[in-house]
């Protein structure tokens, strides 16, 4: 029990002292505090711990055209988390890769705000809760609605974000930076996100497949573009 508590002890002072982390993951921090406080009150040996945060057990059934589905929001992931990592956690929950949608925060460094999951049944949802408990309660799963699920456009692991672009970078520069990679030529688009202090330019590029996106991440991350080091992030 003490080992479990030590393992899931979050370093609040660490997160609070780092302004990037604290500002961008503040909702996560608050949620994790709630989660930990709830866990501390419950014995770890309970077979089916109640949902965290004391969320009311609402009626789940939502009539849909193809049968009702349950939606949940998974939080506690980092920008390095892949779809396969979430699938590993949800092993045995009858969830496929198409049932996952990553949502990213617009501010900061496009850190993941959460992963929305579409569960085919209530038992699948409960299985996910048990899986979280079994794997260290490092993540939080809370209920979500279809209205939160539908608008999210999945990147499917094929889109790569280029951080650290200089202000005068153009599409030709991105093409030269990504030479040798297989991506859709017209998919390069520039975004301006509000980070700490000055706004930052980010380029999003869609690759032909997840494999090509990861190849680009492995080979091109932290290369130089117009004398500035570029950081790549694969959006799931």
């Amino acid at each position: 029990m003490s080992i479990i508590r030590n393992a899931i002890r979050s370093s609040f002072s660490l997160r609070a002292s780092d302004p990037v982390i604290s500002r961008n993951s503040l909702p996560f921090l608050q949620e994790s505090r709630k989660c930990l406080s709830t866990v501390g009150e419950q014995p770890p040996s309970s077979p089916s711990p109640p949902p965290p945060g004391g969320s009311p057990a609402e009626e789940v059934k939502k009539p849909a055209s193809e049968g009702w589905k349950l939606y949940g929001k998974f939080s506690g992931f980092s920008k390095h988390t892949l779809r396969s990592d979430v699938m590993n956690i949800l092993e045995g929950c009858n969830v496929t890769s198409h049932d996952l949608k990553f949502s990213y925060m617009r501010g900061g460094n496009l850190n993941p705000a959460g992963v929305y999951v579409q569960f085919p049944s209530r038992s699948s949802y409960d299985s996910a809760m048990r899986a979280i408990a079994k794997k260290g309660r490092l993540y939080r799963l809370e209920r979500a609605t279809q209205s939160q699920w539908d608008p999210i456009v999945p990147y499917e692991g094929k889109v790569v974000a280029l951080h650290g672009l200089p202000p005068n970078a153009i599409i030709e520069d991105i093409d030269r930076f990504l030479s040798g990679c297989l991506y859709h030529p017209g998919s390069i688009q520039f975004l301006t996100i509000q980070g700490l202090g000055s706004p930052k330019r980010v380029a999003l590029v869609r690759f032909t497949s997840q494999t090509q996106a990861m190849n680009a991440y492995i080979t091109k991350n932290r290369n130089f573009l117009l004398n500035q080091r570029i950081t790549l992030q694969v959006l799931q």
Binding site: S13, L14, S78, S84, K134, L138, E172, Q212, M214, Y217
Partner: protein, 738 residues
Amino acid sequence: MSSHLFLRSRISLLRTLKPNHHIRTISGTPSLYQDPQLATDHESTTLPPNPATGSPLYQENWRSPIPNSPSFSQSLVPMGFLNQAPAARIRALSETLDMISLLNMFADWTASQRWSDMKQLFEFWVRSLDKNGKPNKPDVNLYNHYLRANLMMGAAPSDMLDLVAMMDDFSVAPNTASYNLVLKAMHQAKETEVAEKLLNSCVAKGRTDTLVSIIERCKSLDRNKSLCPSWILCTYMAEVATQEDNSKLAFYAFEFMYNWINRGEMARPSVLLSVDEGLVVSALATAARTCNPTLIDGSWMILKRSLRGKKAANPAAYVAKINAYASLGNLQKAFVALNEFENAYKDAEKEVKEEMLSPFTSLYPLVVACSKKGFETLDEVYFQLETLSKGDTPYKSVAALNCIVLGCANTWDLDRAYQTFDAISASFGLTPNIDSYNALIYAFGKVKKTPEATRVYSHLVGEGVKPDARTFSLLVDAHLINRDPESALTVIDDMIKAGFEPSKETLKKLRRRCIRELDNENDDKVESLAKKFQIRMGSENRRNMLFNMDYSRKLLLRKEGDSENISSHFFWDQRHDTTRNPKLIEEREGNTKMGGRNDEVGGDKEKEKEKEEEQDDMSVHSPCKALPSSASSLSKEQSQVELELTFLEALEIYPPVKLRGNYMVSCFLPMASRDTSPLCSLWSDGVSRQKFSADEVLQLLDRFYNIEMLKSDDEEIDILNHEEDFTLPPSYFDKEEQ
């Protein structure tokens, strides 16, 4: 209430003293308590910050002639006759010593373990002024002596941490020794929580190198028991480490996480902790960039531990591992990793497997590593694979052989590429796949053997192998290298019929070749293809800077001594490159000089024209002939410039290498008699319709080439001008008579 009155009276006083300031009205509600403030005048500029930094003494009255040291000062009542004398001596020393002499003194006192004197002297010294009247500022070494003195006097770890934090006041960054002293205090006091707090602060401040040294110190002191950061902290450490390319810190983080996984499984009930595969991929990429084999092994170990043998690792993890070993140059381990990758995904779909094991994308770092020393490395790898294929557990891999074929193609070694391709089926008993054929097409095309490349394509189609988009792209490249845009367009049509789309890069290459060949019809086809597939090809600014030149019509007037020289500069074509810094462009226009240019009056005529044919059929040439400076009018100069420009463009089509002897003259000779040139329509565009004599043409040619090499002999001219009927040699008639 009295404080309110006091503050209000103070405000009114300030108002009288500084009537220009706008004072905000304060609410009269007695229940509200506000600190009255003077509103700043937003229009006025604030002063720059205080430049005096590096000592906390600046925050106090450091200019007072009376030494003010309340915290360190001795009591007015002497504590004892014996204590007073040393304190006064130490105070006197603090006012006379500089930093270097103080360091030397501390070194002596360390040997004699005079810790209290060291502490006292340091505290007096930092509150004293140096010979320039500025407060004494210690460096990190001096401060470390102070820390050591405190440690030896039994300071608590928390006090030590406070002292380290105070180093910021002196603008001194703590180094490894500083933290070592703190850790020693922690070790003595067995305070592991304080150690973790220290780790937190280091990670938060991004001091990854210091963090590494702290962890190493902890490990050496406590044998990994006292220091064990939380799982989340370890994850964060690993993320920061991969972000900053600190492979040691990443390894340590993974080591801690490995311990947590073990402990979690031993707990009751067990906790199955796992590390994110994405984090492992990132760490493997860091290991590749930093060439750290330890991190590769550590990352793979924790990945395997996390997966617990239940499923195969993500393909990206394998690719990252191969990439890491390839960057290290450890080809043996790279191919072992490739073998593991193939075994893990042997049941995957064929197309997915081919994409994962493509030597052009996923395994390209391995291809580059195989051809590091050219054919030596390639042969070594090939023979190793041949040996392994004949072992007890034969290792036969098409993907590995494809890497060698492509490596040979990259080094223009067609013979080796063909032999390796042939060996796939002959020696190894395997079936070449589409990547094998693609690599062979690439090898043929690169050395301009376009018919052979086309035959390979026909062969693979005949064998039932389905070509992919890369096959067609490589065929297009082969035709472009052969300067045949017509055939390249035919291949693109076949490509579209096969259901593939041409890439932007392919269309750009094709467009460039069409422009070089002045093939407007095919150029239009390329443009229509780009529009059809909604591909923005953009411009060719950078390539054009090497190839195109526009003789600028700007003339630079420059005085040299008593004479005025009118010189013209040849500039790069700047018309399209307006996205960069315009100032830089203006400077370039003013300063750029082409090679071999002579600015002097009547400069020497130099022959330095070079023409290089690059692989993508780009030609580079730079005329280096200086125009003779003259005081002629601007229009004459301009027409001369235009004439030379047109002449060079024509020579691009008919390069002098192909025009030998009098053929050169004969091409241009009709210009002497006709208004239009037989060469191309360019001659009649932009050039005034005037008749040129042969000598004028040769003179123009002489400006750019060594005319002696092209000059026709009189005999050749006579031969050319005289048309002779064919006659049998006299010896023939002699034989008949006989």
